[in-house]
Symmetry: C2
Subunit: 134 residues, 2 copies
C-alpha cells in the first residue's frame, strides 16, 4: 500500500466536469453542472457528475457549500483556504479570507485536544443591490 494515487484514470467525463467548473462562475449544483454539460453536447451521466464532484471535493480541488436551501453547491476556488460571503437574495458570493479565523479554529481545537481539524464557515447577508431593491 502506498500513499500515491496510481489508480486514477483520465477519462473524457472527468475532464469535462473539470472543464465546466473552470468556465462557470459562482456556485453550481451538481444538477446544474450536469445540465450545462448536456448543453455543450458532452454526454456525461448524472451519477458520474456526482461521483466526480465528490472526488474533486475530497481532493480539495473544489469547494462545497451546503446552503440552507438543500442542494450542495460546488465551485472551483482559489487554492488557498477561504470562506464565503453569500447574498441571501441573489446568491452572489464573495470570497473572503480570514487568517484570524483559521488560527482561532485551530487554537480552540487544540485546546480541546482535537486533531485533524477542518472547518466550514459561511456568512449570509443581503448584498447592497438586493437591499436597495426592497
Amino acid at each position: 500500500m502506498n500513499t500515491e494515487s496510481p489508480a486514477q484514470r483520465n477519462t473524457r467525463q472527468r475532464s469535462a466536469v473539470s472543464s465546466v467548473l473552470n468556465e462557470v462562475e459562482g456556485f453550481n449544483s451538481a444538477q446544474d453542472l450536469h445540465a450545462r454539460l448536456r448543453e455543450r453536447g458532452e454526454r456525461v451521466g448524472l451519477t458520474t457528475v456526482y461521483r466526480t464532484l465528490q472526488g474533486l471535493a475530497d481532493a480539495g480541488e473544489i469547494d462545497v457549500m451546503r446552503p440552507p436551501g438543500g442542494e450542495h453547491l460546488y465551485r472551483r476556488c482559489s487554492q488557498g483556504h477561504h470562506h464565503h460571503l453569500v447574498c441571501r437574495a441573489c446568491a452572489r458570493a464573495v470570497e473572503v479570507e480570514g487568517p484570524a479565523v483559521e488560527t482561532w479554529a485551530e487554537k480552540v481545537a487544540a485546546q480541546h485536544g482535537f486533531a485533524e481539524v477542518s472547518h466550514t464557515m459561511e456568512i449570509f447577508g443581503t448584498c447592497p443591490e438586493c437591499a436597495a431593491k426592497r
Copy 2:
C-alpha cells in the same frame, strides 16, 4: 402590523417538543426527537415536530447544525451565539465561543456592504478519545 407575535398559540405538542429538548444532551435529529416523544407516550406527529423545530430555530431558541451526513441536527443551546467543535468519529460536540469570529464576520460583511448578517461555522476534528482508539 405589530412586532409582537400574537398569533402564536400554546399547544401540548409544542411544549412537549420543547421539553424533550431540555432533557436530551447533544444534537438530535428531528426523527430522533420524534421517536423519543413516542417512547414517552406523547403523541406528536412527525410533521409537527419538524414544524416546531423550525419555529424554534427561527426564533433562535435552538441551534441547527447540518453535518455532511445529511440530516439536520437540533439542540437547545446556551442563549448566546456560539459555535461547535464536533468530533468526526463520535459526534461529541463542544460548545465554543469566538468573539473574534463574530466581529470579523460582521466587519467583512460591512466592508462589502452586506446587511442583516448571520453566519454559521462548524469545526470538525477527531477528539482525543477517538484518536487514541485508532
